[in-house]
Symmetry: C2
Subunit: 632 residues, 2 copies
């Protein structure tokens, strides 16, 4: 029996589940579907395959769609055994479904839904059908994601006011199940990422009345649960944690227990935010944001090295052709998507995916190409969000940081095109890269200030850290310029500091690239260590040591607005693995890597990091350094 | 209290229900979803409205979608009373839904979902929200069409073989409800448009096992129902006819009882095929075809004059922008769509709809504009279906009949553009019309044959009726050419006859235009009268008097493949009303018309025909002719 998958039109699975994800945000009783264009799945597809059969064979097609099988010119219903061959046979499976994307499962000894099927949507040329390693059984429905479950009982139960507060050992994405032992009185449960939130029935995000039949509440972020109006013995509470079981391949243990704890909490944070897709946070927004996902690709490579979640997230973000709006409405997030594909390819050598996605890379670049001004700089259209960061940037005319991203995209497209043997396209992008890099240095580099300015049109010559960080990360600056940027911008207190952990990720990456490891190591211990001191069990969306504890969960003018489990705060994993353990993948397909460990930061170190299909084990006892590869 | 509608993004309602319709075809146990691109609805929309309030007011938003109301900067869940004002207020309603299109209903004394709301889909500029007069109550869900129902009991029950055959008074689209009085034994019911089909369990299209709980079968075309293995008293059968109750406004009664019967059966046929949309037939295909719908627009105008079904059908057929494939994959059906909008406007003066649809008319024309060759003639791309008719046409190079349609589209676009005050666009299309008309006459008119040839590239100079019929209908030919066409083509037995009732519609229309009423009147009596003689209670997809009765239901090589209730066979209504009663609408908005009755075909005549919102009553007793207008 060959290996069968559920198959669908490629991308449909991701677009459907992305909608489910992006429509799942709930805030104090109302749903908050994401505020950008929802990219729909197809409703009518056909799967085709031709093959030469030596003997007669049979197969059965399963599907929740409306449709039929056409084999050798005869039509059959789904669920009925189809016999065909010997000889050359043509099989097509026709499927229509409205409430979700059509998918089919073909079971047979010879003819089965393996990875050889083509899919058509009646609008485009045939393409390889989509599949997922999570959907390989005929009884499944790919429109229903089957979460792994683990039951947690409260680790602490405490009377509070006229009710009971339950605490779990850590933060979860769980469906609470409430057993009403006393019976009769209505139950409402208030959930919190913090104790304070659970005890504040007015401001807490999630509160539920358990389903009368099952006692279950909807799945949500929860560490504390408060049930007023009841006593301890009257109620039974458990949390059914629902998660996508992506194995962690990395381990990290060093002589610095604070750093170990930071790694551990970052890993837990990251796993919670790694569901079907990379989402920003598990309480809020629960949305798939291109900028957040881009940072998650870096962490993923060193922690789980899970190729599949990257693929799903990239497909979900990109949507359909023709592209008409920017990813999440944000110009920079569109550009990160190209860089994300490149990171993915470098990490996993995933040429199958690259070939599938390359046409959408090109059409994205073409879409961006409609927004260029006379120097080849990209500018926003009305309604486009030129974000970069929550910061005071001079956004008059083309913004420098966006041009840095565009240049990096040209370079990525050149490399990716060459990698797929598309020499001409590669040369074209290489040429554009050269021209925009030159123009950036002509129009934005300010020799007096030793820095790139945000805008060359406003006359303000305003310097922010953002473009200068990108100039280092994307090699827009030469070595001399980079040194000046470090001195004049990154280590210059007069340039306003980065205030978001989101952009701090890029800043620390740039500092590491420039060899400023001392500074980064200290910042990791201070900033993430600071959250631990305040009782964090997952890393927060933002942390300001100067804010008093009573206000530490406040954000966006909302008392509990801050997400306490946010993917972008897991960056210490990437920084520690890449710059301190010092591991860089050089060829993912071959499993080759370079390692330059900075042992001076540790008395001892033992860690495992993934490289392609291999695991690299690094042990240093203060004397000998041993590095071993293990096939998985 | 103002009038509230359910509102949605315009077109979504139609695209959703069109999918339901086009996926509803069932054939001997398998589903057969239509084989063209399914145009999807949007999943995430926002409705907006600004208004100045004199006093405080309140409203409630109802929806099956996920979302919230934003009023004066504050968010509210659906179902909760929102209070706002006095003063200038901005209200937005955010909605996301995956299984169907999002829609909302706003109930309030001042703020309600009337026709003043704008809809956005995060990809395009705001547009007026969509609505339907069928959805005006808060308890409805616009994703569920509520059919009118009428119960029919069998008019005849007859033992046949080991079972019972039930006959209804006419053909229905009904859910059979089976009552098993004896109990116990499994029941299967075989449905037929004909007695023969119901009695043939192998070849009949629809057979069902009633739902064990309700005894109900799925809705399908049925006139006869056969239940084997049971006796008469053991089973109770009724048919719950489910239909869209579109009132018939016309009546027709003349001294010729055969013509009266033809009108009556044509009207019944047409009403059965007029559901949410104009479909081809009720047993098969149950699909929305652009060519069939175009002909239905003509009949509708004279029978029901229902503006709404035209709107729904036009929106369903056209789909979304950008246009990437032809309507039903057929180039000519794309072109008929433009002509259909023009017919709609002429019949109903529906400028609200015209303004809504005009951008899609332009983008359709732009799409066609990408397929023009050097003379401005339209040619197919690979995969495009150049249909025109099931006939031997010389399809080498650009096909003449397609150019006639394209010319008619340019003329329609010129008129429609001018009607909307778009002078420049009107001039542009007028110019294209002139140029293509000239080129058609240069390249396709064959003076020797007195006819247009199919192809100027093949050298065959093949003459078919099709292009020549269009030359009359669309005024491509001048008066002299038209007379030659009648003599050399239409009345020339050496030119192969039209074999499909579909194209016979155009041929008879052309003959009427050329004053050949005698011939058309005789053909109506012979062809449609012939079906009546064979026991038809609805008019068939096709009828050939030469075929023996035993084979009369055969089509497409399928014993019961022929649809016995097919919209395009209702054309006598249009022909009788337009050319024999002689009524032409001259201004639908003002309700003006011209009438030139051909009383020589009748001894007496009494009929009512709709003109815009008025009904025109025509009575002729053989002496006096009375014509009265009634406001409805």
């Amino acid at each position: 029996m060959n290996k069968s998958y559920w198959i669908w039109y490629p991308g449909d699975f991701e677009l459907y589940h992305a909608m489910v994800q992006n429509f799942s945000r709930v805030e104090r009783g109302f749903g908050w579907p994401a505020f950008w264009k929802s990219e729909g799945f197809r409703n009518r597809v056909v799967f085709r395959r031709k093959m030469a059969l030596d003997t007669e064979t049979s197969f059965v097609v399963y599907s929740k769609a409306v449709g039929y099988v056409l084999a050798d010119g005869r039509k059959y219903p789904f669920g009925e055994t189809v016999v065909c061959g010997p000889g050359q046979v043509e099989i097509s499976v026709h499927a229509g479904r409205i409430d979700a994307f059509p998918s089919v499962y073909i079971k047979g000894e010879v003819i089965c839904s393996d990875r050889s099927w083509q899919a058509e949507d009646y609008a485009n040329a045939p393409v390889a059908a989509g599949y997922s390693p999570y959907f390989t059984e005929e009884g499944q429905d790919p429109a229903v994601w089957e979460y792994s479950e683990k039951v947690y009982l409260p680790v602490k139960t405490e009377p509070c006011g006229d009710g009971v507060l339950y605490e779990f050992e850590t933060e979860l994405t769980a469906a609470l199940e409430i057993k009403d032992r006393a019976g009769g009185r209505p139950i409402r449960v208030y959930c919190g990422e913090s104790r304070e939130e659970a005890l504040d029935p007015v401001h807490c995000y999630y509160s539920w009345e358990p389903d009368p039949g099952t006692g279950r509440c909807p799945r949500c972020a929860v560490r504390f649960a408060y049930i007023p109006g009841h006593r301890e013995g009257e109620i039974g509470v458990k949390a059914i944690h629902q998660f996508v079981d992506i194995p962690v391949r990395a381990s990290f243990s060093c002589s610095d227990s604070l750093v170990n704890e930071i790694w551990s909490v970052a890993a837990h944070t990251f796993r919670l935010c790694s569901g079907i897709f990379f989402i920003d946070g598990i309480k809020r927004d629960k949305w798939i944001w291109g900028g957040d996902a881009y940072q998650s690709f870096f962490v993923n490579q060193y922690l789980m090295a899970d190729r599949e979640i990257n693929r799903r997230t990239l497909l979900a973000l990109r949507g359909n052709d023709p592209m008409t709006t920017h990813i999440n409405t944000i110009l920079d997030y569109t550009l990160y998507w190209i860089l994300g594909v490149k990171i993915h390819q470098e990490a996993y050598g995933d040429t199958e995916f690259l070939e599938q996605i390359y046409p959408k890379m090109c059409s994205l670049m073409d879409f961006c190409g409609t927004q260029l001004e006379e120097h080849g700089f990209i500018v926003g259209r009305p309604g486009d969000w030129i974000f970069i960061d929550w910061a005071d940037l001079d956004k008059d005319g083309p913004l420098c940081a966006e041009q840095m991203l565009l240049a990096a995209c040209y370079r990525a497209m050149a490399e990716v095109s060459r990698c797929l043997g598309k020499v001409e396209a590669g040369e074209e992008y290489r040429g554009r890269y050269g021209r925009i890099k030159e123009n950036i240095n002509t129009f934005y580099w300010d020799e007096d200030q030793g820095a790139y300015i945000d805008s060359f049109t406003s006359g303000r010559k305003h310097v922010s850290r953002h473009a200068n960080i990108f100039a280092i990360l994307f090699d827009i600056a030469d070595d001399g310029q980079k040194e000046r940027i470090v001195a004049e911008v990154l280590c210059n207190d007069e340039v306003p500091p980065i205030t978001t952990p989101y952009f701090k990720f890029y800043e620390m990456d740039a500092l590491c690239r420039m060899g400023r490891l001392d500074e980064v190591f200290a910042r990791i211990r201070e900033y993430w260590g600071g959250m631990l001191q305040r009782g964090a069990v997952t890393f927060w969306e933002e942390y300001d040591p100067a804010v008093p504890e009573a206000e530490q969960y406040d954000m966006y003018g909302d008392k509990f607005g801050k997400s306490l489990c946010h993917a972008w705060s897991a960056s210490p994993i990437y920084l520690l693995a890449k710059y301190f353990v010092g591991l860089t993948v050089t060829d993912a397909e071959k499993g080759t890597y370079e390692i330059h460990p900075h042992l001076e930061y540790f008395d001892s170190l033992e860690c495992t990091l993934p490289v392609g299909d291999k695991d690299v084990h690094v042990v240093w006892d203060g004397g000998d350094l041993k590095i071993k590869n293990f096939d998985r």
